[in-house]
C-alpha cells in the first residue's frame, strides 16, 4: 500500500515556516527582555505561552483555512517559546559582553548582530528546535479543527 506523505510534508512546511517566521521577532523580544527587563512584555509572552494552541487556532482560523494561515497561528505559538527560551542565555551574554560593549559606545543593533547572535547561536538553535517541535506536534490538533 503506498504511503501518504502529504500530511507529513504539510506539517513540516507549516512548522518550518512558523518557526522561521517567529525566529527574528522572537530573538528581538528576547534581547529586549534580557537587556531592559520589561515586565509587561514578559507577562504577555508568558500568557501567550500558557494559552493552548487549540485556543489560539480557534481564535485565528476559520473552517477551510489555507495552510499559510495555520503557519501564522503556529508562529504565534512559537514566538513565546523562542523569546522566553532565549531570555536567560542572552541575559548571561549581555552581562558578560553586552555591558562592556555598551560602555564603548556601540549601538544596541551592532551589539545584537555582531556580539549576541554569533555568541548565542547554540541557544538560538535549541529554542528554535523546541518551537519547531511544538508547532509540529500540535499542528495535528489545529488541522483537525
Amino acid at each position: 500500500m503506498p504511503l501518504n506523505y502529504g500530511p507529513l510534508w504539510l506539517t513540516l512546511r507549516v512548522a518550518g515556516i512558523a518557526t522561521a517566521g517567529a525566529l527574528l521577532p522572537g530573538l528581538w523580544l528576547a534581547y529586549l527582555l534580557a537587556t531592559r527587563a520589561r515586565k509587561p512584555l514578559f507577562a504577555i509572552l508568558a500568557l501567550l505561552l500558557a494559552t493552548p494552541v487549540v485556543i489560539l487556532a480557534s481564535l485565528l482560523l476559520r473552517p477551510g483555512f489555507h495552510w499559510s494561515a495555520g503557519a501564522a497561528a503556529g508562529a504565534l505559538a512559537a514566538l513565546p517559546l523562542i523569546a522566553l527560551g532565549l531570555r536567560t542565555p542572552l541575559e548571561t551574554l549581555d552581562r558578560a559582553y553586552g555591558n562592556p560593549a555598551r560602555s564603548l559606545g556601540i549601538s544596541e543593533f551592532r551589539i545584537f548582530c555582531r556580539v549576541m547572535l554569533p555568541l548565542g547561536w547554540r541557544p538560538v538553535l535549541a529554542a528554535s528546535a523546541i518551537a519547531f517541535a511544538r508547532v509540529f506536534a500540535e499542528w495535528t490538533i489545529v488541522a483537525s479543527l
Binding site: N99, R102, S103, G105, I106, R114
Partner: protein, 337 residues
C-alpha cells in the same frame, strides 16, 4: 573634573576622581563593583550626581540619566569581556568603528604596539594568557577615547599600571585588593566598606596613616586593641592607655579626655620582639608565644593577648630559642583612633 556622588539602597559614596589611577579597595560585598556599574550607567542610583570630565551624565535632581553608551566611560568587568569569537585585532577594530578606515587601521596598530600586543593580533582571546587579555581589553577600551576608565578587580600587573597613565590621561578607577600595588602604582586610594567611603586620599598617605578603626582594619593592621585613657600629660608629651591586659604609653593625645575609650593600632611589622631576659623599656610587654607561622619572606608570631608580630626570617632564626619573650610597641608606631 570627574566626580561621583551616588546614593542608592546599599551605597552612599562621594568620590572625586582626579586624573590618574584611583584605587578602590574594600572587602567583598562593600559595593565596589556596584559603584563602578552605577558610574558606567548599568545600575541606577536613587540620588546624587555623576560628572565625567565635567559632563553631567547623571543628576537625580534634574533627571539627567545618560545611557551607558553615551557616557564615554569605558568599563572593564571582573571577568574577561573580549569578544571570544573575534581575534584581538578584530576586537579593537570593532571598538574603533567610528573612525575612517585608514585612521582606524593606524590607531589600532599604534594601540597594539603601545600595549605590547603585536604578536597576539591574530589570536583569539582564549589563546592568550589572562594578563595579556586584560591589556587587550584596556587597549580596546582606549580605542573609543573614553573620558574615564573603570577597571574591576582583574589583578593587573605593576608594569601595566605604570604604563596606563601615559596612555590615558583621564580618571581611572581601579578595583583591587592588592595594597602593595596601590602603594606602588596608584595615585589615590579610597577604602570602601558597607557602601561607604571610610577614608580616601593619596595612596601612600592613606596606607601609612589610617584615620579610623575601619580604615585600619581594611588596611590589614593586625593589632587593634580597645583601650581607656588613664592619664594625659601634655608637659611630658605622654598619654597612658590601659588595654585589657597591658598598659601602653603613647605621645600626648590632643583632643581626648581622661577616661575616653579609644582603639590602639599597630602594624605587625612595627612590633619589635625581644628575649624575656632583656631589661624592660617603655611599652615592653612580657608575653608567651603559642604560635609561629612561616610566610614566604617573614615569620608571623602570634603572642598571647592577641598580639601579632612579623619578623624577617633571619631575625626569627636568631631569636627562636628564646625561653621567654617580650614584645615592644614603639610609641611612634602606635596609632590611636
Amino acid at each position: 573634573m570627574t566626580h561621583a556622588r551616588v546614593i542608592r539602597q546599599t551605597l552612599d559614596v562621594d568620590l572625586p576622581l582626579p586624573p590618574g589611577i584611583t584605587a578602590l579597595a574594600g572587602p567583598p560585598g562593600a559595593g565596589k563593583t556596584l559603584l563602578l556599574e552605577v558610574i558606567a550607567g548599568f545600575a541606577p542610583a536613587d540620588a546624587g550626581r555623576i560628572l565625567i570630565d565635567d559632563a553631567i551624565v547623571f543628576d537625580a535632581e534634574s533627571r539627567v540619566n545618560l545611557p551607558a553608551r553615551r557616557r564615554r566611560c569605558a568599563y572593564i568587568p571582573a571577568r574577561d569581556s573580549l569578544f571570544p569569537h573575534m581575534t584581538v585585532r578584530q576586537n579593537l577594530m570593532f571598538a574603533a568603528a567610528h573612525w575612517a578606515r585608514l585612521e582606524r587601521h593606524k590607531r589600532v596598530g599604534e594601540m597594539l604596539e603601545r600595549f605590547e600586543l603585536s604578536d597576539a593580533v591574530e589570536k583569539l582571546p582564549d589563546h592568550i594568557p589572562p594578563a595579556r587579555r586584560l591589556r587587550a581589553e584596556i587597549a580596546r577600551a582606549l580605542m573609543t577615547e573614553p573620558r574615564a576608565l573603570l577597571i574591576d578587580d582583574r589583578g593587573p600587573d605593576e608594569s601595566l599600571l605604570r604604563a596606563l597613565p601615559t596612555a590615558f590621561n583621564g580618571a581611572i578607577l581601579l578595583v583591587t585588593a592588592d595594597l602593595d600595588l596601590c602603594y606602588t602604582a596608584a595615585a589615590h586610594l579610597a577604602l570602601l566598606e558597607d557602601g561607604r567611603v571610610v577614608q580616601r586620599g593619596a595612596a601612600r598617605d592613606t596606607i601609612e596613616h589610617p584615620e579610623s578603626l575601619e580604615a585600619a582594619r581594611l588596611l590589614g593592621i593586625a593589632n587593634l586593641f580597645p583601650a581607656t585613657i588613664s592619664a594625659l600629660d601634655p608637659g611630658r608629651n605622654q598619654s597612658r592607655l590601659e588595654c585589657d591586659s597591658f598598659v601602653l604609653i603613647t605621645p600626648y593625645l590632643k583632643g581626648h579626655l581622661k577616661g575616653d575609650r579609644v582603639c590602639v593600632a599597630i602594624r605587625a611589622e612595627d612590633v619589635r620582639v625581644h628575649s624575656g631576659e632583656l631589661e624592660a623599656g617603655v611599652n615592653f610587654i612580657p608575653s608567651s608565644l603559642p604560635r609561629a607561622t612561616e610566610r614566604p619572606r617573614a615569620v608571623r608570631l602570634e603572642f598571647a593577648a592577641g598580639i601579632t608580630a612579623e619578623l624577617p626570617r633571619e631575625s626569627f632564626e636568631r631569636q627562636k630559642d628564646n625561653r621567654s619573650w617580650q614584645v615592644e610597641f614603639p610609641p611612634a608606631a602606635l596609632r590611636v583612633f
